[in-house]
């Protein structure tokens, strides 16, 4: 079976591959340091095909691509989160890593150790009998199929990516952020200069 490794909101790249440990360009070594301080049992226990399920703003923080390499090195099937930080998300797309956005309810009800699988076009939590549709943006799909942007560029020009208009970085799911504040004399207007 393939299991879930559940993580919280705001898992930053310093937690995935801390700056003090990622002084290497060796993929296998990076796989071993994934969550080395945050969750030391992860790298020892994770198996190819497992799922990593997290809350909001997964991968926030530094641009270090080692965070994606480390997760990829361990062969997870997919990352599943409520939302992603943009550089991390791009790094996933470029590396052909499946980074899925799932509804908050699906993530919240999923527990560490649950059995998860992709069945057809649905992501299924077999333990909780939950499922949600899998929607992979075309650009992510294309770069997954070609094995990442580097492989793509061996046979295509970068301009050819433009044909996937509107499918690059995910748009922010609705309702993200604390919303506009009104404290300290802060005035808020939306689309004020719209004509």
């Amino acid at each position: 079976m393939t299991r879930v490794w559940k993580f919280s909101d705001a898992i930053n790249t310093d937690l995935i591959t801390p700056g003090r440990y990622n002084m290497t360009t060796d993929m296998a070594e990076l796989g071993r340091i994934a969550f080395i301080e945050h969750r030391p049992e992860y790298a020892k226990g994770v198996k190819s095909g497992d799922f990593l399920v997290a809350g909001r703003n997964f991968g926030c923080g530094s641009s270090r691509e080692t965070a994606v390499y480390a997760l990829k090195a361990n062969g997870v099937t997919a990352l599943v989160a409520k939302s992603y930080a943009r550089i991390f998300y791009r790094n996933c797309i470029n590396n052909g890593v499946m980074a899925l956005v799932a509804p908050a309810d699906f993530v919240d009800r999923t527990q560490d150790g649950d059995e998860m699988a992709i069945e057809g076009d649905r992501l299924v939590n077999r333990t909780r009998k939950l499922s949600t549709p899998v929607s992979i943006p075309p650009l992510m799909q294309k770069l997954r199929q070609t094995g990442g942007i580097l492989n793509f560029l061996k046979t295509h020009k970068i301009e050819e990516l433009e044909s996937d208009a509107g499918t690059g970085e995910a748009e922010l799911p609705a309702g993200v952020g604390k919303g506009p504040a009104t404290k300290r004399g802060l005035k808020v207007g939306r689309k004020k200069r719209q004509s």
């Binding site: 360009t25 790094n91 560029l153 993200v176 506009p180 005035k187 808020v188 200069r193 719209q194």
Partner: protein, 416 residues
Amino acid sequence: MSGQTLAQKILSAHAGRPLNAGDLAVVNVDYVLAHDTTCAWAIEPFQQIATQVFDPAKIKIFFDHAYPAPSAAAAGLQSKIRKFASAQGIPIITDGVCHQVMAERFLEPNTVLAGADSHTPTGGGTGALCMGFGSTDAAVAMATGKIWTRVPGTIRINLEGKLHAGAYPKDVILSIAKDLSAEGANYKVVEFGGSAISTFDVPSRMTLTNMCAEIGAKTGIVPADDRTAEYLKRQGRYHPFERLRSDEDAQFEQVLTYDLSKIEPTVACPPDIDKDVPVTSVAGTPITQVFLGSCTNCRIEDLEVAYKILKGKKIAPGLKFIVTPASRQVYEQALERGYLSEFSRMGAVLAPPGCGACLGRHMGVLDDDDVCVSTSNRNFTGRMGSPKAKIYLASPATAAASALEGKLADPRKYLK
């Protein structure tokens, strides 16, 4: 169709076609930035797709994250990068934090920088569109001179009024972070404006744009104006530039207005950037280290603020006080003005220009029991060392006042 935002205009000019929010575009970049960590990871990807970089003059490689190398592993990565750079005809720059040096020497208004570092938005203080990417994107940009990007929407933040003594640009951006949250600007551009933006010089603007990375933004930008021209003249490299602005009918996703007179000295409490409180509510918290450094807040203007508070006084006994000027230029200015000798006399550790203690790799790594007041941009768990250590982010003034007391302190009492 509505008008374009500043970021959309810059991206359109670099794509050779009009772009609006949501478009997927491949754009030309004017500069590519990588450093001793991210460049190491870009070499092998680069070699998979190219043999020569698109233009060595447009690629800037810095050693700043851990320079001079603190370990054999770091030295090994730097050797690997040196060989690559040398073969490509690219000089290695070792004169401080990449973002600071990019602003001092290279960036011009309305240009596009693809930087393999999350704090690339710092350069937006010069009116350039500076976006952070990973190493693979850096490799692609070095090979092709291009980057794929989704054209972002823009959040406009207007600054009005005047800051009171003791409140600084850092307090402004921490207040914004509190309101928007660590993901409130995800995938967006933050554009600063309002009548008070003309009172912010370029170094102050860089503190604002630097921390746009911490609220998830693709970048932050301040439209170039007289202050930008003044900065470029001071750096001896002014060329007339077009004063691009967002169109009157541009659609912003959000417009926020801040009354600067309401901004107080603010501290981001561990371990989140958006856990911001007035310094008064945490004043008295014992600390063990003060880090005056980073691309956020260690320009000469920042050192001047700290110097004025600290001059002739003593730092708290036993406190580790680390001063890391952002660049060699800043270091030399601080030497000439006597700031560094005064900091040294007080017992500060003067570190070479670079990222220093900010990312916990060397020169000020924290232990379990350490509590640090830092002028940098991240207070994540484990960011500066032990995951048990605590990091409070603050302005240089608050950091200096805290260094005197050995506790988190309100800088206003030292400004009278």
